[in-house]
Subunit: 218 residues, 2 copies
Amino acid sequence: MQTFTEENYLKTIYKLSEDAESVTTNQLAAVLHTKAASVTDMLKKLSEKKLIDYIPYYGVTLTETGKRIAVDVVRRHRLWEYFLVEKLNFKWDEVHEMAEELEHISSVELVDRLDQFMGHPAYDPHGDPIPDKHGRIKQHEFKPISQLSVDECGVISGVREHSPAFLQYLEKLNLMLGNQIRVIEVLVYDQSVVLTVNQSENKISISKEAAKNILVTS
Amino acid sequence: MQTFTEENYLKTIYKLSEDAESVTTNQLAAVLHTKAASVTDMLKKLSEKKLIDYIPYYGVTLTETGKRIAVDVVRRHRLWEYFLVEKLNFKWDEVHEMAEELEHISSVELVDRLDQFMGHPAYDPHGDPIPDKHGRIKQHEFKPISQLSVDECGVISGVREHSPAFLQYLEKLNLMLGNQIRVIEVLVYDQSVVLTVNQSENKISISKEAAKNILVTS
DNA sequence: TAAATTATTTAGATTAGTCTAAAACTTAAG
DNA sequence: CTTAAGTTTTAGACTAATCTAAATAATTTA
């Protein structure tokens, strides 16, 4: 059994591990809004519990046990997000904080029943895959809009940034999950992208950063 | 904003206050599975926050603010229990521990939406009233089976003991909420009660203690 | 490759909640 | 009304998670 805090560390290490081989102390401190010294202390503790492999000064990776726990936390987070949006009618930009609390409720039975109640959803409201009860995750082939060429189409299937501000911005532009986009033009000087949504006449322009953070399937 | 622990103290003081004028240190220690010294420390803290009126050596009562928080915790607890039983199909003896965790999720909006999702239930799965969002509680006129006379009838509407063992025992005897009972006989030597359920021929006998812990309306 | 910069760890302190043991207070009994 | 018993509080210590400041290791730069 882990504490709330330990689970947050494991989850964060897990997420950061998707982008890089190993995770550094400062990265963790930044994401967890804490100080490097605090992170070091926790890494020692998690290492003693054999939930991570920790080499001082060189970073950290999850052990199999640690990874399993992290995936469970992610599963719970995404299932609760799905519940909040689909059953309680929250909007996709409102659910993150609540799910941050709900993900630490420990009962395995509760999560499995919740999963069943909702019909075993595969993706959360932001398009992220929901691990199943055995920790298996559907691997999806998403790529950012920034990698599309002019005239290429795609269906919006996920986001790489979950801040309410960004999600509200997408909603305002009708860039919601399931909508089809077509790239009209990529401006040379700032790589901003002009595109249309669902065959509409209306052209909208998004920055390079936004284009990197919207994921599509073709 | 209170911590998890503070909320548990307030909730416990609230519940114990229903039976007695003021609540003592040792009572709290017993219910919270902690030591009297720890309770004293917490009472000082809650007193400084003006959530309780605390007179050293003489016990404690809730202030209006403290009571409001306690009622909110109770509301969340009972709403989550209702959810677990009605939506996730848990049995009434399985939900207490989970609700103990869920009750501390802080979002007011979450609880109100949950309440709405379930159609504003008035009673939880054990027959306890669920406070509304303004903290109002339906006062019900329940009395224990032990106060019925021979030949009196009643509808089982609540319990005064929530342990899984007791709830499972009631389920086995078909002494579930909504069922009608009739007192056939009260034995003189130990005040155990013989009764029938839902007009059945079958007579069952329960101890004085059990009779005290089952509440009926007439 | 030595110096400067950056990243990380160590040392020592803090806060919340808890504990044991001892002291102080209240209540009950004779 | 004094003593004994029981209850509550105080004193001092512990653990988990955090912090700041200082020390040390790694990396970058000249």
